[in-house]
């Protein structure tokens, strides 16, 4: 492996680590367990912050509900969505073929399919 390839490989590895970290962070952001853990800790310590932590949990659940309601493309199951995607791809392919066929047939100006 040449030095330039080595550098590229290292950069790629670093980028992947960043993506991994981001994903982990996102997963952690979704999790309610840290908040539940904080509440249990407060209860163990008999801390007055427990009400605050409980409110946090409630808010987090509410935010999660709003986030889910606003997320696009989750009104169908992944299987159904994949089927819809396949249908759309097939439509585009068929229409492209049709246009190509027309373009090769006709002698007049056809619109450019970009």
């Amino acid at each position: 492996m040449t030095p330039s390839c080595d550098v590229k490989y290292m950069r790629l590895k670093a980028a992947m680590a960043v993506v991994q970290q981001k994903l982990e962070k996102e997963r952690e952001e979704c999790s309610l367990l840290p908040l539940v853990h904080d509440i249990i800790k407060c209860m163990d310590k008999d801390s007055q912050d427990v009400h605050q932590e409980l409110a946090k949990l409630k808010t987090k659940i509410q935010e999660a509900r709003e986030q889910i309601a606003n997320m696009p493309g989750i009104d169908s199951s992944p299987v159904d969505q994949q089927q819809q995607l396949a249908t759309l791809r097939e439509q585009v392919r068929t229409k492209n073929q049709l246009l190509q066929k027309y373009k090769s047939l006709c002698m007049f100006d056809a619109p450019k399919a970009s």
Partner: protein, 253 residues
Amino acid sequence: MAAVAERSTKERLFSVLDDLEVLSRELIEMLALSRSQKLPQPGEDVQILELLVQRDREFQDLMEVARQQGKVHQEMQLLEKEVEKRDSDIQQLQKQLKEAEHVLATAVYQAKEKLKSIDKARKGSISSEEIIKYAHRISASNAVCAPLNWVPGDPRRPYPTDLEMRSGTLGHMANLPTNGVNGHLPGDALAAGRLPDVLTPHYPWQSSDISVGMLPPHHSNDFGLEPPGHNKENEDDVEAMSTDSSSSSSDSD
């Protein structure tokens, strides 16, 4: 299991979130109760905790699935736009094809008409030599154009004679009598000495059908063969009519 697979991701997320809320509340209540009553219930809270962890993991997995579906949704939107674009392209092409069809149909119709007339012309073909001969004849008697040095009083006429007018299609359409009309203008056609020659030959385009069909039975269409002054009775009328026609042609000039 199949019913679960059919449910949308949104429904499943809400369901798991509800479970998480219920389980966490139960766990906290249980812990609070156990602390206040000082009664440890080790088995149950651990079970709830395990369930909570399991549901939390499930929720995270579903959120990941939802994110992926969001990306797929974006791709689908792009594809939908592409489909719309292709649709408009196809519609435009269809419109152009319709126009082309219209143009071609018109062209085919015109071509058929042309072929018909070509066929008709072939059936009644006339040699160009004969047409030229006829043109020479009618121009030689100054029937179509006055001589270059023509002046008023010149017996050579710069207009068709009454007889020629009567022998034409217009004359036939008006159903004018053609008998004995020669010599109506002193010194015009007769002075040229060519009038009988002009009308004597029968040309193919001088449709005998027309003259036969349009003239009354007692009128013959071979007036050119009749000697001048054949019908003396009509001579005066003809004289008057030719004067009229000459005056009318002068008027028209």
